[in-house]
Every structure is written in structure tokens, then in C-alpha cells.
């Protein structure tokens, strides 16, 4: 049987209809958000800090989950079994604490200092007049984000190609065009609202598919019997090396340092509501993650040999299992959910990269002191988003074979560079500018070196050592340099105001 044809929905009008309906909804949201987002940079890049707890919760959660969750984690659970739960436990737990502690403090500080971006935060925090922190942080963001966005477009191209039978290049261009349209028009508001819609598609897909598949398998007892017979340790989460488990948990170290997630916390209208966002976001994160794990497990009970999957690739399990068990309309929604995961990540990354160029480089450095209207700045931001989409497309074409390699350390590189430095800047008064610079540099350099050296790369996921070295160096260098005299005033005032 032609496996590629089997998972294609191109011949089914009802599947195409449900998919097109999804695309129409997100484009309409972009159009409706355009007027609000055109009024100023704060509106375009942070939705004017007016978002409600539910939108922030879902947007923060799905912006961090790319197609990796739907096709990567399902494939991982299919391959290694229950130990895959450690790959999702780390980031979900990290984000629980981000919502409750770091996110709230970041929101309070950045609103007080009128910061719109993460580089804005670092410059304000250390009263840096030299632009070193700003230029360094924007450089790190651009290096990792363009490759990250390029990889999302590539994944979108593959999803379109697999589902609709179009060429991969056409799929990439369609993905880029849709993301570009609603992001350019509606800015952060459109991105967050579409994230919310996309969150519903993702959770629906990740719950309905394993449930239907388990029922079709004859019930959970039947699935258990098959898997126990296949491999008695397949469902034991501890049947993995300690290093493997720590490496998987270490994925969570990326959450505090990825700027496209951090700006979600900064956009909430009332920082107190982040406590409610925490519960909503965590429930969503857990259901999606364990839905993905169960999909992999039940998938294995159907296809004990990976060769049964298209191309023998476990990452094809998700659409393949859906095509075997779901009605065409639901299959259209499954395709939409993969595109939703891709788009909800790419749009957030595009906006963060655009804010780095427009706000941090142009407004704060190149055009410092010049009077430029807010509306004009938004127009420039839109042009920059357009330019970044072109850059990501060109980068994807030039470095096609490296794109997925690069994304492997994009999450880790951002996490190791910004995670320790941001947390220390928020919670440790003794942090200095020199300490943060050493954290930025060491986080990026260790990530790259660890990935290049096979001996190191085979021991543990690079984010764990890179994060720890960045954290240690930030602390050591901070203690070795003069304590900032005036730089802590705002942090003190927040602490005095809100701490008991």
C-alpha cells in the first residue's frame, strides 16, 4: 500500500473543508486585530499589556510547543515507551514556576520601566548606556530565532506536502504566507488570539486521537497486554538511564530563557492573574503532553515494527494513526493541529525577532533621539516582520540540511543564554552587567561546542551543562565585579511593595 497516499487528505473534501475553515478563522483574527495593533509599538509587540489570563495561559503554553510535541513526542513515546514522560515533565514543571514567580516579577518590572522586549529589560536592569547588553541579546535572539522560524516553515512544508500532496516548497511558501499575513496585520494581539484557537486544535487532536485509538484497540487493557508482551519494560518510566532522565528533565531549563515565551508573561493586563494562568496553562500543558505520550504508546500497540509507518519514521505516527482511526473531518483537524503547533511557534518567534530589530536596534540605538511617530514605528515593524520571513525562507533554502540541526540547539541556546541571566537578574540583587555578559556568551558558546563534539553530545542534552556553566559564570563574575549601585532601585521597590 502507498503509505504516503494513505495519510493524504487531498481527496477528501470534508477534510479539506475543516482545514480551510481553520485557516480562515486565523486570517480573520489577523484582519480584526489590525486596527488595535496599528496604534503603537506597545500594542504591536505586547498587545498593550491588556491580555487576559486565559489568553496568556494558552498563548504561553503553545508558543513554546512546536510540532515537536505532536510529531516528536508521539514518535519518542512510540520508540522508547513511557520514559518519554520525562521529556515533558521538565518543561511543564519549569513553566509552573515561571507563571507563579519569575513571570509575575518580570511583568511588574517591565511595565514599571516601560520595557517592551527582553533586551529592554536587561538594559534597564543594569542601567547599561553602552548598548552592549542590548546588542548582545538581540544578536543571540536573531541567530537562534531565524533558524528556529526557518525550521518551523520547513515543518509546515512537510505537513502540507504529506496532507495535501503539494510540493514541499509550495507547502513552505503557503505556511510562511499565512503566518506572515496575520502576524503583519494583527501583531501580538492576533498572534496571541490565534495561539488560543491553535491551543484548542492541539488539545483536541492530542486527546481525541489516543482515546479513539484505544477504543478501537479493544480498550486500555488490550493495549497494556500487547505492550507488556512486546516489551515488559516499555511502560516503565524508570527503564531509562539516570543520565537520560536528567537530560530529558533538562529540556525544562529552556523555558525561562526563550524570549517568545517570556513576552507572554509581560503582556498580561494584571500580573496577579498569572496565578490563575498558571493553573490553566498547566492543565493544558499536561493534557497535551500526556495525550502525546499515550498516542505514542497506543500507536506502538498497533504497529509493533516501526517499518509499518510511512518511511519507517516514528515521527509519521501522529498523522498516520489519525488517518487510520478518525473520520475525514477530524483528520482535517489533525492536519490543522500540526499546522497550528508550527504556526503558533513561528508567529511568536517572528514578532520577538522583529521587536529586536525595530525596538532594540532601530529605535533605541540607530534612531535614538529622533522623533518618530508610533504609527510609523509599527509600519517599520511590519516591514521587518516581512523581511524576517524572507530571511528565514532564504536561510531555510541555503542551509536546508542544517535547519533541523540548528533548531536542536536553538531552544537550548536561548535557554542557556537567557535563562540563568534573567532569573538571577530578577531575584539576585548582586547580579552585575559583567556577570550577565559572561552568562550570555558562555550559554551560547557551550551550546554550540557541546553540539559539535560527539563525545560530549552523546553524554547529556547540551542545555543542562550549558545552563549550569552559564549560571555558574554569571554568579562568579558578578561576585568578582562591583555591585551595581543604582541598578537595583526598581527591583527593591517591587520587592518592598509585593513581598511579605
Amino acid at each position: 500500500m502507498d503509505k504516503a497516499a494513505e495519510i493524504s487528505i487531498q481527496a477528501d473534501p470534508s477534510a479539506i473543508l475543516s482545514f480551510v475553515l481553520y485557516l480562515l478563522i486565523i486570517i480573520i483574527i489577523g484582519i480584526l486585530s489590525a486596527k488595535f495593533s496599528s496604534s503603537g509599538l506597545s500594542e504591536f509587540f505586547l498587545a498593550g499589556r491588556k491580555l487576559k489570563q486565559f489568553v496568556v495561559a494558552l498563548s504561553a503554553v503553545v508558543s513554546g510547543r512546536s510540532a515537536w510535541l505532536l510529531v516528536g513526542v508521539t514518535g519518542m513515546a512510540f520508540t522508547i515507551g513511557a520514559p518519554a514522560v520525562w521529556a515533558v515533565t521538565g518543561y511543564i514543571t519549569a513553566e509552573v514556576f515561571m507563571f507563579i514567580f519569575a513571570g509575575k516579577r518580570l511583568r511588574r518590572y517591565t511595565a514599571m520601566m516601560d520595557n517592551l522586549t527582553v533586551p529592554d529589560f536587561f538594559e534597564s536592569r543594569f542601567k547599561d548606556k553602552s548598548n552592549v547588553l542590548r546588542i548582545l541579546s538581540v544578536s543571540i535572539i536573531l541567530i537562534f530565532m531565524i533558524s528556529y522560524v526557518a525550521s518551523q516553515f520547513e515543518a509546515g512544508g512537510k505537513a502540507f506536502s504529506t496532507s495535501f500532496g503539494v510540493s514541499e516548497t509550495s507547502g513552505i511558501l503557503v505556511t510562511a504566507a499565512i503566518v506572515l499575513l496575520y502576524t503583519v496585520l494583527g501583531g501580538f494581539l492576533a498572534v496571541s488570539l490565534t495561539d488560543m484557537i491553535q491551543a484548542f486544535f492541539m488539545i483536541f487532536a492530542l486527546l481525541i486521537l489516543p482515546i479513539v485509538a484505544i477504543v478501537n484497540a479493544g480498550g486500555w487493557g488490550e493495549v497494556l497486554a500487547i505492550l507488556h508482551n512486546f516489551n515488559p519494560k516499555f511502560l516503565n518510566p524508570f527503564s531509562f538511564s539516570a543520565g537520560g532522565i536528567i537530560g530529558f528533565l533538562g529540556i525544562g531549563l529552556g523555558s525561562p530563557g526563550n524570549p517568545h515565551i517570556l513576552v507572554r508573561y509581560m503582556s498580561i493586563s494584571d500580573p496577579r492573574a498569572l496565578r490563575k494562568s498558571c493553573v490553566i496553562g498547566t492543565v493544558w500543558n499536561v493534557l497535551m503532553a500526556w495525550g502525546a505520550v499515550f498516542t505514542g504508546l497506543v500507536g506502538r500497540s498497533f504497529y509493533l515494527k516501526p517499518e509499518a509507518l510511512p518511511g519507517g519514521d516514528p515521527e509519521n505516527l501522529f498523522p498516520f494513526l489519525a488517518s487510520a482511526h478518525l473520520h475525514p473531518i477530524l483528520l482535517g483537524m489533525i492536519t490543522a493541529s500540526i499546522l497550528a503547533a508550527i504556526m503558533s511557534t513561528a508567529d511568536s518567534q517572528l514578532l520577538v525577532a522583529s521587536s529586536g530589530v525595530t525596538r532594540d536596534i532601530f529605535q533605541k540605538i540607530l534612531a535614538r533621539g529622533r522623533e518618530i511617530s508610533e504609527k510609523r514605528m509599527v509600519s517599520i515593524s511590519r516591514l521587518v516582520v516581512f523581511g524576517l520571513v524572507i530571511a528565514a525562507l532564504v536561510f531555510g533554502m541555503i542551509a536546508k540540511q542544517y535547519v533541523f540541526w540548528l533548531v536542536l540547539f536553538a531552544w537550548g541556546g536561548l535557554g542557556a543564554s537567557f535563562g540563568p541571566t534573567l532569573l538571577l537578574s530578577l531575584f539576585w540583587k548582586r547580579t552585575t552587567k559583567a556577570g550577565v555578559i559572561s552568562g550570555f556568551v558562555s550559554g551560547t558558546v557551550v551550546t554550540i561546542i557541546w553540539n559539535q563534539v560527539a563525545v560530549l553530545n552523546n553524554t547529556i542534552y547540551h542545555l543542562v551543562p550549558a545552563f549550569m556553566i552559564s549560571l555558574s559564570l554569571t554568579i562568579i563574575v558578578s561576585l568578582s565585579t562591583s555591585a551595581p549601585a543604582q541598578a537595583n532601585a526598581e527591583l527593591d521597590s517591587i520587592r518592598a511593595k509585593y513581598s511579605r
Partner: protein, 32 residues
Amino acid sequence: MDLAEIFGLFILPAAIILLSVFLFVFFKEEGD
């Protein structure tokens, strides 16, 4: 299912949700 399997597939996700509820209830700052 043995205890390890039940832990990984059911107790662990429930515990993470409970952690978020616990922090929601008990970790308030002034102004919350």
C-alpha cells in the same frame, strides 16, 4: 499495571497539576 507504570502515566501528570493548584492557593504576594 505495576506502581512504576501507574506513577509515570497517571500520578506524575496529576501531581504536576496539583503543584500548580498548590502554588495558586498558597503563594500569594502582597496585592494578589
